[in-house]
Amino acid sequence: MHEFAIETKGLRKAFGRQTVLDGIDLTVRAGTIFALLGPNGAGKTTLINILSTLTKPDGGSAYVAGRDVVRERDAVKRSISLTGQFAAVDDMLTAKENLRMMGRLSGFTADEARARTAELLKLFDLEASAGKLVKTYSGGMRRRLDLAVSLVADRPVLFLDEPTTGLDTVSRRALWETILQLRSRGMTIFLTTQYLEEADQLADRIAVIAGGRIVASGTAQELKSRVGEDMIELRGADDELLAVHATDGSIQDIRRTLNELAGKVPADTRISLRKPSMDDVFVALTTTRLEEAAQ
């Protein structure tokens, strides 16, 4: 077993004149969950596509399970499984047929494929609609099937591109549970997300991607300490956002912040306390980068 399930150095990719990845260095330890956090268009899908052999990088190197994603594609394919951003299941087949088809394509005999299909239908709570065409499924069911399909074959590295986007809270938590179980069985999981909370709940390490570069990486705790534990939001009479301040959440820090604000904002300003969002981290990290650059 390699120490790092995923390793990239100076990975670059441009589409035409638009540079999407501009030197990505990252490592993911085997058996851990790694979350790549970034806004729309940051290049998350592009990076996943390169790591899963779908797209060729323009420069740099990337190794998955110890194999080069360009030169040893076939070996990499034997170690990975991908759940893309948009469900990749066959609408005109039933859930059962989708799973069996993937079983056969993964080298199972017909009997093995049938047994594995039954296991996964049960696990993902799809037994009741196993015989219905997937085009009649709800978004959440489709997403569950999509993940089930990627787990048919037992691959050590799993890529999940925004796995919970579009899911309701209950389904999202259930999926988190599943992902944590996968890790406890020794799988390495590389996921992308736009939600800090998701990265916080799941990931052993988080990297933030912006402008084609990794602008910060570390544990959830380390990242949040760079933003603040909580955010104070100030809203005017018409609920318009006036300002956001980071705080450590303690009474004394909140009181200090409010004292500073007294007189600077109208008296009817409303305040609320909330957890840092992806935007806050993003703003905080990009501004510190600019400040560092200025010094």
Partner: protein, 263 residues
């Protein structure tokens, strides 16, 4: 149990991969009820139309049915295989192709599956044409070997045309674009000896009609089934079909690779 107790470390063989994809495409064909009904109804309608509506005007002797059967077979084959372009474009633009590409299988087999299903669909439609033809008075002098040869030529034509449509599906950016591009090819049978002898056409059109692939294929089938002189048609038909087949295969392969690399 999330991780499998039974998961093998084997890879699917090429034979299994192809079989799985052919099975998938056949299933999709069977579930696409409208297309399937169309594939069966179209031959019947065309056969009746050409025999009873146009036939009397074109050949008052009533022999037109013997002339027109090969033309209708090819018209239906063209129509039936054009849906391959849509099926292929559908797969290429939905996420499913990416899943197949990240698996240790030869993902081009997805396309081969659609081609095989199209071949099966169109041979079925050909059977319907021939069946209806016999009902409305078609008589053939062909023996077993001639029938075999005729079906061989028809199958080769369908295969070549289907790969051409598959390539169109690969190049097209969307299923509806694929169906649009494919439409153009469906006019070729009318500009051939399928429905009227090319000698009845204006001179400039004869040039086109005599030098396009459909005419030798039609003449070959007609010669085999109706006993008309075959001349150069047989080898011309085979060369045309093989040429189209090889070009379409190369085009498909190149497009598949290019799209795979670029994304």
């Amino acid at each position: 149990m999330i991780t499998s107790r039974t998961a093998p470390v084997r890879n699917a063989s090429l034979a299994v991969t192809n079989a799985v994809f052919i099975g998938r495409s056949v299933r999709l064909s069977l579930r696409n009820a409208e297309a399937l009904i169309m594939a069966i109804m179209l031959p019947v309608m065309l056969m009746l139309l050409f025999t009873y509506v146009f036939g009397g005007a074109i050949d008052p002797g009533g022999d037109y049915v013997n002339y027109v059967v090969p033309g209708i077979i090819l018209l239906c084959a063209g129509f039936g295989s054009s849906s391959t372009a849509v099926d292929v474009a559908q797969d290429m633009t939905s996420g499913i192709i990416d899943r197949f590409r990240t698996m240790p299988i030869r993902s081009l087999s997805v396309i081969a599956g659609h081609v095989a299903a199209s071949l099966a669909r169109n041979l079925l439609a050909t059977g319907v044409v021939i069946g209806v033809a016999f009902v409305v008075g078609f008589r053939s002098s062909a023996g077993f070997l001639e029938w075999l040869a005729a079906i061989g030529v028809i199958a080769l034509f369908i295969l070549a045309l289907t790969w051409l449509f598959a390539a169109i599906g690969l190049v097209a950016g969307s299923p509806s674009a694929a169906s649009g591009y494919g439409f153009i090819l469906l006019f070729l049978p009318y500009l051939s000896s399928a429905f009227v002898p090319t000698t009845t056409m204006p001179g400039w059109l004869q040039g086109v009609a005599n030098h396009q692939p459909i005419t030798p294929v039609i003449e070959t089938i007609r010669a085999l089934l109706a006993g008309t002189p075959i001349g150069h048609s047989a080898w011309l038909a085979v060369v045309w079909c093989l040429g189209i087949l090889l070009l379409a295969l190369a085009w498909s392969l190149a497009t598949f690779r290019r799209k795979a690399g670029r994304r």
